[in-house]
Amino acid sequence: MNNINKKTLKKISYTIFFTNKTIVIALIIGIALSIASPYFLIPQNLFNVSRQIVVNAIVALGFTILLGMGEIDLSVGAMLGLIGVIVGKLMVDFDLSVPIAIIFALLSGVLFGTLNATLISAFSLPPFIVTLATASIFRGILFIATNMVPVILLPKAFLFIGQGYIGPVPVQVYILVLVFVAIYVIANRTKFGRYAVAIGANKEAARISGINIKRVRLYVYILVGLCVAIAAVIQTARSASAQTGAGLNMELDVIAAVVIGGTALYGGSVNVVGTLFGVLIIGMVNNGLNLLGINPHFQIIVKGLIILFALILDRIGLTLSAKQS
């Protein structure tokens, strides 16, 4: 009797951990960091963390639906850098007004997303390779267009997006909330989100059910492009310049966040709320390592380890649910 109770208890605690693993891990890291560093919990640092994660979070939210569809976009980092330069140059070199420049930034996101999706669909190429190639092209164009010099002297009204406050809350946090709500609704409440998940779970079944896979793919990559464009605007405004290295290696952070958040690596499920916590975990780890004065190069290793950890958790979770059924 005692033995059985122990077993069910173990099973229940396993289930609780694996269904809420992201929140549990975020809590553990938060507690650990507040013990390790006296500066972690002070409001100024917490605001820092939240501002640092907004850009990653917005890209990761779009990426959640993409990964849920079982595909990937390795060009998001380079795209972010390039769109930052586009929006900066349009305002500084071409004297366009802030709203017009932002509209062009969003259009660029749509265009780049369309490019990725079209290449994948038209030639039946693997998304992994296509977006690796377009990433290289985007970054190259960025280097040529800027001659490796950051775009500076951006208009004040533009900087407000990345540095301003409405009430006590940074402007970018409002934007994040809007993007979060939009992506949450799209993923969980619309036909489009459902089709993306269905394609990720069983492409053949989706096709036979009459779902137009190429069209859904196009919209998903455009959605990612739009998220990247919004993130690029915020990033550029926050650093008051379009840096040539903006978005470098961002893919790694984004994929890590989405997978830690519980979206299946091979598609078939999405967890939009989980992604937010995933981004928070990555953000806290970066921040914590900084606070503790650890060599920044170690941070790269730690990020790699976190991704591996997330993948292994994902796999264990899968095996566990397979055993139960």
Binding site: A198, A201, N202, E204, G210, S269
Partner: protein, 265 residues
Amino acid sequence: MVDQKNEYILEAVGIRKHFGGVYAVDNVDLRLKHNEILGLVGDNGAGKSTLIKIISGILKKDEGEIYVDGQKVDIDNPNDANNLGIETVYQDLNLIDNQNVPFNIFLGREIIYGGLLKYFGFLNYKSMFNESVNLISKLDIGLSDIARPMQEYSGGQRQSVALSKLIYWGARIAILDEPTAALGVKESKKALEMIKMLKIKSNLSVIIISHNLHHVFSIVDRIMVLRQGKRVTVQDADKLTADDVVKYITGSEEVQRARTSETLG
């Protein structure tokens, strides 16, 4: 033509499809009568799957014509076939395993909210759930909880969900690809009974593909045999024995082939 209109619900005439230099289906005719069950048999690579994929809009034919109710139709994709009342259940059932019954029954044809929300494709979970409950109870399938993911059901239950999806979408012509392949003895029997029941209750015309001749004979009205992309024979089931069918499938006796030419049509 007028006569045929009355007799056949579906006719596929002179269908050809090649992959590379090989004809997977070579000038094949398939005619399905109203409210009959037609068994489609043949060895691996005989062209059964290619033929039904053409009828259900998954593959495009190279040559040939398809008629539904005597009217010539174009079937270029699964939606075209669905709109004509042709619904297909494939061997692996093509269910989304980590999703529940309503998700699967409505996949590709979700109920969405009207008004302004229509343009955003907002899902109406409640009515999809209720419709599914009604359907399951109407067809008398023993599913206790339709909110569970498909992977938690037995093979037979999964099969019956796939079949009820087909009924819900107003199928007049059902194409069933190896409906008993993944099932045990008991569940196979149940599935065959359900197909018979649907034929009668829902006035369904059925094309059934199966390797299991025992299952085929227990349910079909007529049998059509394909070999190497060509139609070898089509006959009333009660005029055939399993041995005959095996001979047609393997082509072991030339005599059979000669006899075939008389019965074609």
